[in-house]
Symmetry: C2
């Protein structure tokens, strides 16, 4: 948790200043999935809980996992260690993580009538998550911002509909075949997710990120209906409940539809995947909106000259506008720690 | 093969006229993977060859598979039944199709030194493919255009590098770690693919489509290097060898990078995946360039009002510019024949 004096002096963490529209001395940096399997200390810690959800629901473990990368790298933000599927788990959808296969849920598309628990049950059941947030905030240096997060409604709905990730064909088909049911599910998730994010903020999260990991492959009209509109409703619901922290939305794979998203969703920051050209993102963004991204995570495996060129390209591409340096997708287990060190050094010395 | 009199009278098939920049009376229509598993007669025919490549290399079977959808639907074009992996197969990369798992090749990334056969061996070995093209052209009504095709260099290289499809992380990593080797592979594929496409045209193909199925997820600089440039070289190599038929390039998943592609690659038609907004495509396209796409294939499973709305959206989105109606991705085995009939009826009555 080495942090520059300058940060301490200015008061507000650089990450939050960038999200407030400030072009900072150098971009703040954090790394999606920075607490994760590329860290040997995380792999060791992970063995202390039987299932992945047990791990997420054990505050001591979630706190430790969140803090681990901050002990190695002078990052500008920590992100709560948790998972987007705690929301459907709390909604009673029987979430389990199958080793080597990814998450499995009871697939809604196999049920004729969809019944859900009251969205208020989510925050009742996820108290260990909010306890972790409180303890992380207390442990962090004031110059390091703490980010809370949740999955966006369509992404979480896709898991709930299909019972798994992979090809999203069945979820898309359900949106055509059972439009009223799918829209009701999205509305339920807007409400449950708003409560979950508000509880994280109440516990100490200073910003929230909404992960729309599966914005890709949708026709324009369907994208607007299941991606842009639910994200807009979620942001507006949070604001209506006096959640005033910066909100970053990350519509991964939105492609040319990023414009539709940016126009519809009044968020402070737009997360960008690896394939978004910076100039396109700037043209699509709202005035003053911060852009976050978008180095290819494979460069943290490859390293060398390719990594240095990639970092320079991203820095140059977003220079002059509020920018949070990040990857375009989560860091992979194969990433090398020395490459992460190089990345952080290049960005933090970019002033 | 019911075909309207009007087509017979005008001489040039409607599909070719659209690719030549004409706004036709109604858009020509064909369907990616129109010869495929959604047709019971294809599933029956498929049993007559042991492996999928045996099927592709048996001219009688490839001819019959190509003609089957034309007997059911009044489509404006037939596309050779074959596979993009016949090129690496002819290059000696031991291609096999594993039931329920997709194709497998000997992965290049596991080899220290990459050795390939002479690209001229491709056309020597693929003579059964060209024989099929000749026989299809002879069997088709003159108003139905015959399309030849190949995979684009990066897509085929990805299979060759990784030995399989799925996540393209390893291929991308190789492009960073072994740039000279990967560029040499792409150049080899430009040459082999140009010869393969030229041989199809010599045998009777009246247009060719180049499938860049895996244009997605690449950072802008890498996209330009491995997608746009090799497609440009391939088109220019074909033109330099007096291949004058229309060329359609389909950079699936290009997203906002479609602009880079359209600017770099002088092709007659741009294939569009489901997620491309028509107005964005028109703005990105070259003057007079035809646009092809981009109905969601899941609508041919869902059917009903969603299908009708989807077709209307696509027709309206591309109205006024040269347009070839198609899906945004291949038709799926779950597609219902009555929905395909509805689609074809809606488009052919759209004049």
């Amino acid at each position: 948790m080495s942090l520059s004096k300058k940060d301490g002096e200015t008061g507000t963490p650089r990450y939050l200043r960038a999200l407030n529209g400030e072009v900072t001395d150098r971009p703040p940096i954090w790394i999606m999935r920075q607490a994760g399997r590329y860290l040997p200390e995380y792999r060791e810690l992970r063995t202390r809980a039987k299932t992945f959800l047990d791990f997420c629901y054990a505050p001591a473990l979630a706190v430790e996992a969140t803090l681990q990368p901050l002990r190695r790298f002078p990052l500008d933000a920590a992100i709560l260690f948790s998972d987007i599927l705690v929301v459907p788990d709390a909604l009673g959808r029987n979430v389990r993580f199958v080793e080597g296969e990814g998450p499995r849920l009871d697939p809604l598309i196999e049920e004729t009538t969809w019944r859900f628990e009251d969205p208020a049950r989510v925050v009742q059941r996820l108290t260990p998550v909010y306890e972790a947030v409180e303890r992380i905030r207390a442990a962090l240096d004031p110059s390091v911002a703490l980010i809370g997060f949740a999955g966006a409604p369509w992404t979480v709905a896709t898991y709930m509909l299909q019972g798994e990730g992979g090809e999203k064909d069945r979820a898309r088909r359900a949106a055509y075949q059972r439009p009223a049911d799918v829209d009701a599910l999205l509305d339920l998730l807007v409400e449950a997710t708003a409560q979950h994010l508000a509880a994280q903020v109440a516990a100490g999260a200073q910003a929230v990120q909404i992960f729309e990991s599966w914005a890709e492959g949708l026709p324009p009209a369907l994208f607007h209906r299941v991606v842009s509109e639910p994200n807009r409703k979620l942001v507006e619901t949070l604001r209506a409940r006096n959640v005033t922290v910066p909100i970053v939305c990350f519509p991964r794979g939105a492609g040319a539809l990023l414009r539709d998203f940016a126009e519809a969703v009044p968020c402070n920051g737009l997360g960008l995947d690896t394939a978004v050209p910076p100039a396109f993102a700037r043209a699509a963004a709202r005035p003053g909106q911060a852009l976050q991204g978008n180095l290819d995570p494979q460069l943290l495996v490859a390293g060398g000259a390719a990594l240095e060129k990639g970092v320079r390209d991203v820095l140059a591409g977003f220079a002059g506008s509020p920018h949070v340096f990040n990857l375009g997708h989560g860091i992979t287990p194969e990433a090398k720690i020395e490459n992460v060190e190089t990345l952080v050094r290049l960005v933090t010395s970019a002033a």
